[in-house]
């Protein structure tokens, strides 16, 4: 049944089959990921044509100039970190609450977390523009006699928009992690004399670390590339790297510098993710956790 010729033919056929199965995906990756990235790389060592755009050149000037725009990078980094931590602080208790509910109620509550995201992301963000604009919350605050407060077009507004839009990405991995927690460990910890806080710090937190890191990464990565929320809720005053990139390509028309900045952004994100993986392996996470 398995003579050598048939086996070799079998292998050849299965190789062809494999290649055929992989072909569409490979084509997509090549033409729509690799080639555009190569174009970016080529542009990034080029020069800006006088009226904007690209002229061929071979120079590292654009990369060397990146540190001068470090302000936008650093701004994005700290706001992305702050946003992630905020999502964490808001999302952890919610995830814990959800994980401690009973069966059907829990599923329903989980779905309720997702439903708002069936409206358009832009509409949700626009709703916040109205709420934070002068006819929204500030009007109420002023009516209550607390004086005037400006909320729209501030970093605070952008933060609110971030938490609002990225919360589920944080809540789901946390929930999964907490849900798998064996309550007997908590009981044991209390039996051994640890208080609530102690139990939380020494049992719950470490065991939910996987979910925590997953959620953090799921929020941080897209947040670094965010463009719409700062544009709508920041009024042109809050500038993420995403906004800077759009400006570089669609206003200043400095493609080489924009390309260098894009590659810089990708590198920064890669570094952050590597950090996560290193932290994760340090905690000796045995199970492969998919990125989602």
């Amino acid at each position: 049944m398995t003579d050598r010729g048939a086996a070799a033919g079998e292998r050849r056929r299965s190789r062809t089959v494999n290649a055929a199965l992989l072909l569409p995906a490979s084509a997509w990756f090549f033409f729509l990921l690799i080639v555009p990235l190569i174009i970016l790389l080529v542009f990034s060592v080029g020069a800006r044509a006088p009226e904007g755009g690209y002229t061929p050149a071979l120079q590292l000037d654009n990369y060397l100039e990146l540190p001068t725009r470090a302000a936008a990078f650093i701004n994005t980094l700290w706001m992305a970190t702050a946003g992630t931590i905020l999502c964490l602080l808001v999302g952890y208790p919610l995830a814990y609450y959800l994980a401690t509910r009973a069966g059907t109620k829990r599923t329903l509550l989980l779905i309720l977390v997702v439903v708002p995201f069936w409206t358009s992301f832009l509409i949700r963000t626009y709703a916040w523009m109205s709420i934070l604009g002068n006819n929204g919350i500030p009007a109420i605050v002023e009516a209550l006699g607390f004086g005037h407060v400006t909320l729209i077009n501030t970093p605070a507004a952008v933060m609110i928009g971030i938490v609002y839009n990225y919360l589920p990405l944080m809540v789901f991995p946390l929930y999964v992690s907490l849900e798998r927690l064996d309550k007997r460990l908590l009981e044991a910890s209390k039996d051994l004399g640890a208080g609530r806080i102690g139990t939380f710090r020494q049992v719950t937190l470490p065991l939910s670390a996987v979910g925590l890191l997953s959620g953090a990464i799921l929020v941080f990565i897209p947040l670094m590339g965010e463009y719409v929320i700062p544009a709508l809720l920041g009024g042109g005053k809050v500038f993420f790297v995403g906004n800077a990139l759009v400006d570089l390509f669609l206003q200043s028309r400095n493609w080489p510098f924009g390309s260098a900045a894009s590659i810089g952004l990708i590198v920064v994100i890669l570094l952050a993710v590597s950090l996560y993986l290193w932290l994760g392996s340090r905690g000796r996470v045995e199970r492969e956790v998919s990125l989602l």
Binding site: L37, Y97, I123, V176
Partner: protein, 315 residues
């Protein structure tokens, strides 16, 4: 395994000091749900605004719904979004699943290469994808169009076709990201799958194709469906990539909305959003009812009951 004790799912065992903490958690959850839903409610309420602008409520009426349905541009954008999302979902799910299957049986090097590609495709920001894909397409068309013109003129075929940006370029750009996600989901599911079933199927002389359709595919179904849904959602809601890669006359719904926001939004946009929300909530409810009915009738999906299909029991 839930947070109950060894007993089956009957909710947490409550200890006395915990009641206060539990109350605090409950309060926080309520506040968060309010936080999540108040903007949505505002969107829906203002869609019934009889006035001209979204900011001030001036009585209730359905006029903006009528206007929205009659607005050719808005409805066109909506149709474009749905079309793009459907195609994206279809292509991403198909290509991604096929690739995930193939990746199981290729040499480790190939697998590693694809791991890296998937990785990059997922972490690369939408902005960068949008811009770089745009430049790629424009340059591509710059080569292809003169060539087409040449071929057509040589062949005496009349007006040569001109390739331009359009919905197809949006679909292409969307498929890249969503296909990577489908691959991640399906591969995760594959790695956790029970091999004994496939082996049993082969032992019983089923052909590979038959095994695939009757054993593997049903087991993969949850991951494939989840991937398809995610792909659809992402594509439908995406603004950045569509903004760069779409053609001039064919905006997607998010593009249409963003341009309206720039120019001063009318409650028409609220009406459209409310309609979309209604449709999706209704379909979700229907799906949930069907799922529950099938689960009660013995589980048509065949997946091992109780094991979460995703991290979290949500399709």
């Amino acid at each position: 395994m839930t947070l109950g004790t060894g007993r089956p799912d009957r909710g947490p065992a409550v200890d006395r000091a915990g009641r206060w903490v539990d109350g605090a958690f409950r309060l926080e959850a309520v506040l968060i749900y309010l936080f999540l839903y108040v903007p949505i409610l505002l969107v829906v309420i203002f869609s019934f605004n009889a006035g001209e602008r979204t900011g001030e409520l001036r009585g209730l009426s359905m006029r903006w719904y009528e206007y929205a349905i009659g607005d050719a541009f808005a409805m066109g954008a909506l149709r474009n979004s749905i079309g793009v999302a459907l195609w994206t979902s279809l292509l991403a799910t198909t290509f991604g699943t096929l690739a995930a299957l193939a990746l199981q049986r290729v040499p480790r090097v190939v697998r590693a290469v694809f791991d890296v590609l998937i990785y990059i495709a997922i972490i690369i920001p939408g902005i960068v994808i949008g811009i770089s894909t745009l430049i790629f397409f424009v340059n591509l068309f710059g080569f292809v169009n003169p060539w087409l013109a040449y071929v057509w003129s040589v062949g005496g075929l009349g007006e040569p076709p001109v390739v331009q940006k359009g919905l197809h370029t949006v679909i292409a750009a969307h498929v890249l990201f969503t296909m990577a996600i489908v691959m991640v989901l399906v591969r995760a599911r594959l790695s956790g799958m029970d091999r004994s079933l496939t082996e049993a199927s082969f032992d019983l002389f089923a052909t590979p194709l038959r095994t695939f359709f009757q054993v593997t595919l049903p087991q993969l179904a949850p991951a494939i469906i989840a991937g398809a849904l995610l792909a659809f959602t992402f594509s439908f809601d995406d603004f950045i990539i569509a903004n760069f890669t779409a053609g001039p006359g064919q905006p997607t719904l998010p593009m249409y909305i963003f341009n309206s926001i720039r120019r001063g939004i009318t409650p028409e946009v609220n009406a459209i959003a409310a309609m979309v929300l209604m449709v999706t909530v209704t379909s979700l409810v229907i799906v949930a009812l069907i799922y529950r009915r099938q689960a009660r009738q013995g589980g048509a999906f065949g997946a091992s009951e109780g094991a979460p299909i995703l991290e979290g029991d949500v399709a």
